[in-house]
């Protein structure tokens, strides 16, 4: 319909004719010039994915990665002008991409990489110092109805695969030879200060944090925890040490 839409559609689909009315200053073929533009658009988007998903690229090799990324770019052109977040749905695409089926953990490693980008760009937020947390403990009876809010960068990944260990091995932090990809991992991603941190947590700790992230009260989260393998103290220590708690609110109204 509009000229802009026509131009946009033609940019992303090489099968379409070039937009009407294009001319060149020196009389060269506008179709050739437009092809350069098309190529730049596609390649820059593929490059953006390679920047955001470096470990995924290392896992399958550049050639495979770029071919896969190209198909994704065709299917999911950017909807936002923020290139850093382009490809948020790329992990889902990978998960359902048949040629990548032999690397079943690829999509979760990619998810972890995007969570790190998201955490990196998350809003700044002051978190509670230890003495402020201690203060909110003063009224013990209020604790079960209290709600914890986390630093905005806190993210959780539940993976059937060893997503964090695979990722860490590609940072030179862990030895790839010792990583069994088939071991499920729960991963906490956060950026309390300057650097993004990636921490593996137990499934029960992940359950607990997931409930709190959903807005459950401390009491509900504790009562729903699988007590067999849940370590409340260690979990709270983690939240306190990493300074992930931005507020603890009591809902006095609900207390009988």
């Amino acid at each position: 319909m509009s000229t802009q839409h026509e131009f946009f559609d033609a940019l992303l689909d090489p099968a379409r004719p070039i937009p009407a009315g294009l001319t060149t200053w020196n009389g060269s073929d506008p179709a050739v010039r437009f092809a350069v533009y098309r190529n730049n658009v596609i390649v820059s988007l593929i490059d953006a994915l390679a920047d955001s998903y470096p470990v995924a690229q290392e896992l399958v090799g550049e050639e495979f990665f770029r071919a896969m990324a190209r198909l994704y770019v065709d299917a999911e052109p950017p909807r936002s002008r923020v290139l850093a977040f382009y490809g948020t749905s790329f992990p889902d695409f990978i998960e359902h991409f048949p040629p990548a089926a032999s690397v079943p953990y690829l999509s979760d490693v990619a998810r972890l990489e995007m969570l790190r980008v998201r955490a990196y760009h998350a809003a700044e937020c002051a978190t509670l110092p230890a003495d402020a947390i201690a203060q909110s403990l003063a009224d013990v009876d209020q604790l079960p109805t209290s709600v914890i809010r986390f630093h905005p960068s806190v993210r959780l990944l539940r993976s059937q695969y060893a997503a964090a260990s695979l990722w860490a091995a590609h940072q030179g932090i862990e030895d790839i030879a010792t990583v069994d990809p088939e071991v499920a991992e729960n991963v906490l991603v956060m950026r309390p200060h300057v650097d993004v941190e990636v921490i593996r947590v137990s499934a029960s700790t992940a359950d607990f944090i997931a409930r709190l992230l959903d807005g459950a009260t401390l009491g509900t989260a504790v009562e729903q925890a699988n007590l067999a393998d849940f370590d409340l103290r260690n979990t709270l220590s983690l939240l306190v040490q990493k300074q992930l708690i931005s507020s603890i609110t009591t809902s006095r109204g609900k207390q009988p």
Binding site: S44, A48, E63, F64, A67, V140, L236
Partner: protein
Amino acid sequence: MSSFTMTQKTTAAALALAFGAALSVTAAPVSAADKMADMEKCFGVALKGKNDCKAGAGTTCAGTSKIDHQGNAWSMVPAGTCTKTASKTSPTGFGQLVEFKKKKA
């Protein structure tokens, strides 16, 4: 109703205890405030590749000389480091070991 209250009381006590322990662990070493004093937020330093020419969406400094191949390469076997990652189906368990730029500390 009273059993509910009991549960609530037990939960409250468990939470208070666990929080107390968590805080005592943290209180001992270098206080958070001291640690923060050594650091400063450095704005404008983006992740690699996120704020250089590639990140200016639509800018053309990236890719002008690169011709991307059409998407037919995916029909081959993924050829990256996954071959060096443990695999239950592989006869060797995994291929040759690590070749990453190691910076073990």
